[in-house]
Point group: C2
Chain length 187, copies 2
DNA sequence: CCGGCTTTTCAGATGTTATTGAAATGACTA
DNA sequence: TAGTCATTTCAATAACATCTGAAAAGCCGG
């Protein structure tokens, strides 16, 4: 349609954006390709189908399919369709804060929550139980006490983070206003 | 010294803490071992030398050395020494918020800053320059305009994040108070 | 400046994760 | 139902990250 063949600058800017985003994603434990697919959809703003994406990023069909599905799971890409075309098209969430909230939500769910669960279990191993146990030296009791203090410090911290993230993640542009507030507050 | 051979519960709690932390670290793009070494030092609270750590975590000398050095670089572990012992001992930062600040600082430096730099460069590719270019259709101009809008949205967002993280990272227990404030504010 | 002890380095082995491509599955039409 | 086109799956493979262990480099007291 619009873009002619020698439309260099825009194309290059898009490609470099895709690379930069892919790099960042990789550092975050998101597969490079998945991040690149998202970047491409975001920066072009155009609905694209699997073949468009394969061609543009030079990746296999399987890879494109997997990445798109994962992006759908994360809720940062939506399906759409074109009349008279059987292919599925995809578009990226355009609001950056919404995007960010989706990412935080997903990462908390996958990485922090399981650790929190583990820590609670671990806490049980050395709670009241240990005092019931047979003859234990004063030193050992002290060691357990300090262990529990450290464990609790970590637990408290992660729970605070959890709550904080829920504020940011909560629906509506709450996160933005909060960030602005915080930045304003502390001068 | 204190811990006798059948002191099971504490030891198991420590081991499980180490695993849980290692898992979390892995998800964050920190090598599992590096996270485990830190977890061990944190949860025991004891200064340990390289051999202690090798034995306890069953890792090679090289791996232990590398991980410890990385933790020192991150500023979350300190060297210490024992009189009459030539070995180096290591201890973990015990304040969880300080630990967290170190991590955020490091990750921003390594992952966000480079991307921001790239985005600024990319922005230049399609700034004023593009209007100078020869005959360009109205459609193309429009495309470039929208591209710039999206790019700027991302830039703004990352810059806000950067500033936010600097608040949290700033010396003294500022971060803690901020978090408390935010949690309090929105009920 | 030698000998013993400690830490660091790094090439190769090992383990993990991402990607491909072709076959299976699904979805729709006639 | 068979035929066409699109999508998903998954075993094989490639790419990447991590770990080992032995050799090299540092450090120190005598």
């Amino acid at each position: 349609m619009s873009t002619t063949h020698h439309q260099g600058a825009l194309r290059e800017a898009q490609d470099r954006f895709v690379s930069a985003w892919g790099q960042m994603g990789a550092a975050w434990g998101i597969s490079r390709t998945m991040a690149e697919v998202h970047a491409l959809l975001y920066i072009t703003g155009q609905p694209m189908n699997t073949d468009d994406i394969m061609d543009r990023l030079q990746i296999s069909r399987g890879n494109a399919s997997m990445s798109l599905r994962a992006l759908l799971d994360w809720g940062v890409v939506q399906r759409s369709h074109k009349r008279g075309d059987r292919k599925e098209y995809f578009t990226a969430e355009q609001d950056v804060w919404t995007l960010f909230r989706a990412i935080v939500r997903e990462r908390m769910k996958r990485e922090v929550d399981p650790v929190l669960a583990s820590l609670f279990e671990i806490r049980d191993l050395t709670s009241v139980e240990s005092s019931r146990k047979s003859a234990i030296s004063a030193d050992d009791k002290q060691a357990v006490l300090e262990h529990n203090r450290r464990l609790d410090a970590m637990l408290d911290f992660l729970q605070t983070m959890e709550k904080l993230s829920q504020r940011f993640v909560s629906p509506s542009g709450r996160g933005l206003r909060l960030a602005a507030t915080v930045l304003g507050k502390v001068s």
